[in-house]
Amino acid sequence: MTRFVVRRLFSMVLVLFAISVLTFLIFQVIPNGDPAQRMAGRLSTPETVAAIRRTWGFDDPLWQQYLTTMKKIFTGEVISYTQQVNVLDQIWQNLPATLSLAIGAGIIWFVMGVLFGVLSALRAGRFTDRALTVAALVGVSTPVFLLGAVALYFLAFKVQLFPNGGYVPLTQDPLDWLYHMILPWLVLSVLFIGIYSRVLRSNLLDAMSEDYVRTARAKGISERRVLLRHVLRNSLIPIVALWSLDFAAVIGGGAILTESVFNLQGVGQYAAESIAQLDVPPVMVVVMLGAFFVVILSAITDVLFALLDPRIRLSG
């Protein structure tokens, strides 16, 4: 077990390192993206540009630039090119909105996904199942930004049931916070509910035809217990794995579209805006933060799984 954890941690560090290199390189392939030129503005002299270049280290070899950037990230001194503000401070400011979105939506989509999945599997082939299948497919076929925009138009503009986007900190006014978060939560959840209910449905149907479920029935325990203890428990394991990864991705700025549509000023929206301005440092930090959450949560999930499902320990 210890070996398993150590191995998992080692590969995690490796992936994080590779991610930082890759992200750095992606922005080096931009030919017209000379940040010094842009910082200096249009009416700059070659001297100012050269000076900026020198102070920011844009003339150094690539590997050295990479090391400098990484060092700044770890010491918390990384500064954005365009706004010239501390990136970590900025992210720290945006994190509450993203966390609010991720936690609320995460709970909603998990509960609803499981509920609909179970309902669908229990009524497999009947009306409820078909209706839920259609709903789930419509859900996964609708882009989240379109859904968000339509929801805002009808529920915030036409009928003024909800506010027109924006974020209010929880500490400032909890009720107002809730009022602002409900619509983003629901909109972000729709897609996931569709996915989760479909995955769980097929897992449940697979599990129901397993031999051990037949054994459980043959024992004479109640149907309820068969479903909860033997079918649902075993089918939920992969769903929990899926959830932890999706949740991590949303925390790490993955909900860019939802944050942008509702103007939540979250981490993802910050990344999107920085990308549009070719501002490398914030993007690097956000991407690394996102990957960091994904990698860490997937490592935790793997270890949790090894505890939950003893068979994995052998192969690990």
Binding site: S11, A18, V140, V150, V287, G290
Partner: protein
């Protein structure tokens, strides 16, 4: 949808039914099941209809709308119900659907014909979707089979590369690549792509989705390579390439087929997402995503600009999704490939 499939396995032993269907190849069997799934066929036909309509875009533009997708008509007027109306009012309000040849579905704020742009945009969206799928499926199949077959070091390296791509949130990686490449274009060997080429988003989307397909294929190959028919081929003197091509590939082909519609749907959705964020199809080229993005700020005054391409996008993606669901049920009634839904995380 597949009523009998989904319920018969609840508690009923497989043996008696299996006898009767024995001897049919999985594809013929799948085709038979698919043919009975009317809903899947209907939605597949809907998708096909949209594809055909989009292919006919130049015909519509020339003969019905008499304009081109990027032609501005800001200062033009059009006769609606006998009344001469501005295409774009002096206050900047574009005309809504006229339900006639010109400006059938209205205009945008630049006075461009929405219906024409819808069809041309559909062509672009679909082209990106299909090209990206082709790229994803080809590379993912190769990577999955090679990693699964050789295991060990090769697998270790390939698996890390997949992990790497996979650890990025899809949209974040997409816009990072999209922004970088849209500015600089891309050079792969002798091939140089302009930044505004459609191939750029197709390339990005194709790369981003590789792990979601390669991982399940790899898993399947790991199981397959232990089976006797592979040993038999090896004993018979077949080399690794030959075994991968003629023993492994045919056995993962149903997984590949199941993934194709799903990937097309996801690629179209991701294209829309990237275009919405300005990192996909570059203006003035239309795509459903860019059209929605153009319209979204104007929803209160000109909602047709968003709802028309939005409805088309949802219909097309829904069509291929329902059809793909049917294909999966037909080829794989026990839904062996479960992981693929993971790929649908696309548009957050």
């Amino acid at each position: 949808m597949a009523t009998v499939d989904s319920t018969v396995r609840v508690g009923a032993p497989a043996a008696p039914g299996a006898d009767a269907t024995a001897g049919l190849s999985p594809y013929r069997l799948g085709l038979r099941r698919l043919r009975r799934n009317k809903a899947a066929l209907a939605f597949g036909a809907l998708f096909l209809l949209i594809v055909v309509l989009c292919l006919c875009a130049p015909l519509y533009a020339d003969h019905v709308a008499q304009t081109t997708p990027n032609a501005n008509h800001v200062t033009d007027t059009v006769v609606v119900d006998g009344v001469r109306t501005d295409v774009v009012s002096p206050t900047g309000q574009p005309i809504g659907p006229t339900w006639q040849g010109r400006f059938l579905l209205g205009a945008d704020q630049n006075g461009r014909d929405i219906a024409v742009r819808l069809l041309y945009g559909g062509r672009n969206s679909l082209e990106v979707g299909f090209l990206a799928t082709l790229l994803t499926m080809t590379l993912a199949t190769i990577v999955g089979i090679v990693a699964g077959y050789f295991r060990g070091f090769v697998d270790g390296v390939l698996a890390r590369v997949l992990d790497l791509i996979w650890a990025y949130p899809v949209v974040l990686l997409g816009i990072a690549l999209g922004t970088a490449l849209a500015l600089g274009g891309i050079t792969i060997g002798p091939l140089h792509l302009q930044g505004n080429s459609l191939l750029v988003p197709a390339f990005i989307i194709g790369i981003v989705y590789i792990p979601y397909v390669a991982k399940p294929i790899r898993g399947q190959v790991l199981r397959l390579r232990e089976q006797e028919f592979v040993d038999a081929a090896r004993v018979g003197g077949a080399g690794p390439l030959r075994i991968m091509w003629s023993e492994i590939l045919p056995n993962v082909s149903s997984t590949i087929v199941v993934f194709v519609p799903l990937m097309v749907a996801n690629a179209i959705l991701l294209e829309a997402a990237l275009s919405y964020l300005g990192a996909g199809v570059q203006p003035p080229n239309p795509s459903w995503g860019t059209m929605i993005s153009d319209g979204i700020r104007l929803i209160p005054s000109a909602m047709h600009m968003t709802f028309v391409p939005g409805a088309m996008l949802v219909l097309a993606v829904l069509g291929i999704n329902v059809f793909g669901d049917g294909v999966r049920d037909a080829l794989d009634p026990r839904a062996r490939v479960r992981l693929e839904e993971h790929a649908q995380e696309a548009s957050r």
